[in-house]
């Protein structure tokens, strides 16, 4: 079947839904998602959304601006960051008006809490900037935006999996989707295509990301000749529940939680003397793993303790209910009385599909635009997070740039007619699918994927070096050869998740190589990218964005400058 809409949005998380709400008044909008409504990974966000509302104490957008630039280790583009922080208050009030059930101050305003890297007066002390609904902020915003989409009669194609992107004369014209429930292929044609597909944490063994966060869109776009930007910057959240990797929000430290090593020491005092446990995530993750490496992990193992026992039952059950419930269910511990075992967990992709400030996808380092194609949210790189994202800036990014993409798309689709396609994009997609289903081989998906997750963990996580990165790339090539010999055992068409995962794995191997390749070429340490062989930041050489292109000769790395408007790079100390 062929379905026509003005605007096709891929991904039903916060960026996609915020964009949909924005354009649904004037355009015919369809949202495609591989999961059912409200299952998208944005719902797992816990801690909050930043905005300098100043509801709890004095705050200013200029301080938020500085913190975000410093948090990004000066790699974020300051023109884009300025848009993000200046638009934050409006974005929050708008959510409140839509009905988001924020927690409240005694005066009835939106409550705000501390979060890592957010400070007053340019780094002097922590400031309460994260607006929250207990520790289920992402879920309630997702619910609210979904409800708004229902109200605006946005069309949903749920449990449809995108197989390929369709272009006509270089312009984004649609997507080919695989209906998971029937196994049928359809073409969704549109005048503008927004990619809002989230991150790709599932390439790592330990991750806070959901099963749907597999990252195939990075690879799909990349194979269309679009470069990927700053992919070496992968955030490890300091506090994943040990050993599952489930997120334990920074809100736990924002509310007063303390990290302790085997000796009971509050070790963050040494790594970040001013803000301690509320330093930026890259700093805290490295600190935890340094403690572990030096033998101060709990019971000699690779985790430390997050201590909430001094907070009291009332505060924990009111503000950290979900987290407390995870700890009780999965570890059988009560965080009111016992410390929580935590370890860094893969959480967020700072890099992504390069876009301008209005969500338009960029084709090269000169800023050429790919017409008809947009990206927003975690899969995009504007870049507001640079080398390290601050907590609660992600939801803000989704809302601000999701909306801006929506505004741009509805303006631009009014000037275009629906594309008439010269060739049938369904046939090649169908052929590829049948080939994968019928192919004989000795390899299975699961062992290859497990090995990939181990390789990325060993060589592409918090600490990296040249030898490991090269080894990792070699291993990925070996896995790619093995992937050629896979056989999909399930030949059915109805909810065949083995087939879907086989397709995903092919893309994950591409994505992983781009990450390690980008990391290999950045011979310095900045933000989440730490090179043991180059432990210093090198502004003279590397104050620039990485762009990796696919060429006939293999991967090619190019660079583009960072936009610096207000804050010159300086030493980053917390």
């Amino acid at each position: 079947m062929i379905y026509q809409h003005d605007i096709i949005i891929v991904g039903a998380g916060l960026a996609g839904l915020r964009a949909a709400v924005e354009c649904a008044d004037q355009s015919d909008v369809a949202v495609v998602s591989k999961v059912l409504p409200t299952r998208s990974h944005s719902g797992a966000a816990q801690g909050g959304i930043t905005a300098a509302l100043g509801n709890e104490e004095e705050d200013r957008w200029e301080w938020h601006f500085f913190d975000t630039v410093k948090g990004s280790d000066y790699l974020g583009d300051q023109d884009a960051i300025e848009i993000l922080v200046k638009d934050a208050s409006r974005a929050i009030y708008e959510l409140e008006h839509m009905g988001v059930p924020f927690s409240r101050t005694p005066e009835g305003k939106i409550s705000q809490r501390n979060f890592g890297g957010h400070t007053r007066d340019y780094g002097t002390k922590p400031v309460k900037r994260a607006c929250y609904a207990a520790d289920r902020t992402g879920r309630v915003v997702l619910d609210t935006l979904y409800d708004q989409c229902l109200r605006h009669r946005v069309k949903f194609y749920s449990e449809y999996y995108v197989l390929s992107l369709v272009f006509e004369k270089g312009r984004g014209a649609g997507v080919v989707v695989y209906d998971l429930a029937t196994g049928e292929l359809h073409l969704l044609q549109g005048k503008a295509i927004l990619l809002a597909t989230g991150g790709g944490g599932k390439i790592y063994k330990t991750t806070s990301n959901s099963n749907s966060t597999t990252g195939e869109m990075f690879s799909l776009v990349y194979q269309q000749g679009v470069p990927l930007e700053d992919m070496e910057f992968i955030q490890f959240h300091p506090t994943g529940l040990y050993p599952l990797g489930i997120l334990v929000s920074e809100a736990a430290r924002g509310e007063g939680g303390i990290l302790r090593n085997r000796l009971g020491e509050r070790f963050m005092e040494q790594y970040a003397p001013t803000v301690k446990d509320l330093a930026a995530r890259d700093v805290v993750s490295r600190a935890i793993l340094t403690e572990v490496r030096e033998g101060r992990g709990i019971a000699g193992k690779d985790y430390v303790h997050l201590d909430l026992t001094h907070l009291g039952e009332e505060k924990i059950s009111e503000r950290l209910w979900e987290i407390a419930s995870f700890v009780r269910i999965y570890l059988g511990l009560d965080p009111v009385y016992e410390p929580i075992p935590v370890q860094p967990t893969c959480h967020y992709v700072m890099g992504g599909i390069p876009t301008d400030r209005n969500g338009r996808v960029l084709a090269d380092e000169k800023g050429s635009i790919v017409p008809g194609l947009y990206a927003a949210g975690e899969c995009a790189c504007v870049s507001v997070h640079g080398a390290n994202r601050l907590g609660c800036n992600s939801l803000l990014d989704l809302l601000v740039f999701g909306r801006r993409s929506g505004m741009t798309m509805k303006e631009e689709v009014a000037q275009h007619h629906p594309p008439s396609l010269k060739t049938d994009p369904l046939k090649p997609a169908e052929d590829k699918l049948i080939q994968l289903l019928e192919q004989k081989g000795r390899e299975k998906i699961d062992p290859i994927r497990k090995r990939l997750q181990e390789v990325m963990m060993a060589y592409g996580s918090v600490f990296r070096n040249e030898e490991g990165l090269k080894k990792g790339i070699d291993e990925i090539w070996t896995l790619r050869n093995r992937y050629q010999g896979i056989e999909v055992m399930n030949k059915g068409r109805v909810f065949n998740f083995e087939l879907m995962e086989a397709i995903e794995l092919g893309h994950q191997l591409f994505l992983s190589e781009v990450i390690l390749f980008s990391a290999l070429h950045r011979r310095e340490s900045r933000g989440a990218h730490f090179r043991e062989d180059f432990p210093m930041r090198a502004d003279n050489t590397y104050l620039k964005h990485t762009l990796v292109f696919q060429t006939p000769k293999g991967l090619e790395v190019r660079y583009k400058p960072v936009t610096i408007t207000r804050f010159q790079p300086e030493a980053r100390v917390y």
Binding site: L36, A44, I92, E96, H97, G99, P101, F102, I329, E498
Partner: protein
């Protein structure tokens, strides 16, 4: 330890009738039942189909019936099961394949209660004010993850004669808006729910409350919705 599972299987493209298939999986005591299901799928039988995503009780994807009780296998640990575990799809809904059911009717009912804030007064430039006490009135209800375990467990929804009942999940969301001080559509909402398939469909059987993976006092909240309807009618002189 070795975990034994008996799993409901049905593929409409080839099976005339559903059947049960036995599996054995090696698992650690602290593993989730979800991990066992994934191990079956990845290591033994890739034809088994079920939904899952976040794996920790937030996305609401993996609702199913475990030893006859609706719940999330991502929230159940292996150590709490001694005998063979019976795994079946959620009742009430039509089975599409194996453990996957068609949730379309669930979302249609959810949609029918107008699940969004209705406000007639233009909002101020900043946030609307709401006291912490006002927010606490409905705070438990916002834990809902739309997993459909409550609706699937409800004997009223399970009964073919009364299956049109809007169901507990939709009523929890109705409660959430009725008791939100910012909402200004109380009259429309109570009118919308004032019929035998609305709030009055609830027969106070508590099954929803028993199974809710997020510990929402569902029955109590439905009771408060009924009370609100009753009061609205009394005030309007309609009783």
């Amino acid at each position: 330890m070795l975990v034994k599972l008996k799993v409901f299987r049905f593929d409409p493209s080839k099976d005339k009738e559903p059947y049960y298939q036995a599996y054995e999986v090696e698992a650690a005591p602290m593993d989730r039942l979800l991990d066992c299901l994934n191990r079956i799928r990845w290591e033994q039988d890739s034809t088994l189909s079920f939904r899952w995503s976040c794996g920790h009780g937030v996305c609401g994807s993996d609702g199913m019936r475990i030893n006859g009780i609706c719940g999330l296998p991502c929230q159940k640990l292996v150590k709490d099961f001694k005998e063979e575990v019976l795994i079946e799809p959620l009742p009430v809904f039509e089975v599409v394949k194996d453990l996957i059911v068609n949730l379309e009717p669930f979302f249609v009912k959810y949609h029918s209660i107008r699940p969004y804030l209705i406000s007639k007064t233009p909002p101020p430039e900043e946030e609307r004010r709401q006291s912490p006490e006002e927010q606490h009135l409905f705070e438990e209800a916002i834990r809902c993850i739309l997993c459909a375990c409550c609706t699937a467990s409800c004997p009223v929804n399970q009964n073919k004669e009364t299956e049109k009942y809007v169901g507990p999940a939709a009523l929890v969301r109705a409660f959430r808006y009725l008791f939100d001080s910012r909402d200004e559509a109380s009259e429309e909402r109570t009118a919308l729910l004032d019929h035998k398939d609305g709030a009055w469909g609830c027969q106070t059987l508590w099954k929803c409350t028993e199974v809710c993976p997020k510990e929402i006092p569902v029955t109590k909240q439905i009771g408060q919705v009924k009370k609100r309807i009753y009061e609205a009618k009394k005030k309007g002189g309609l009783s």
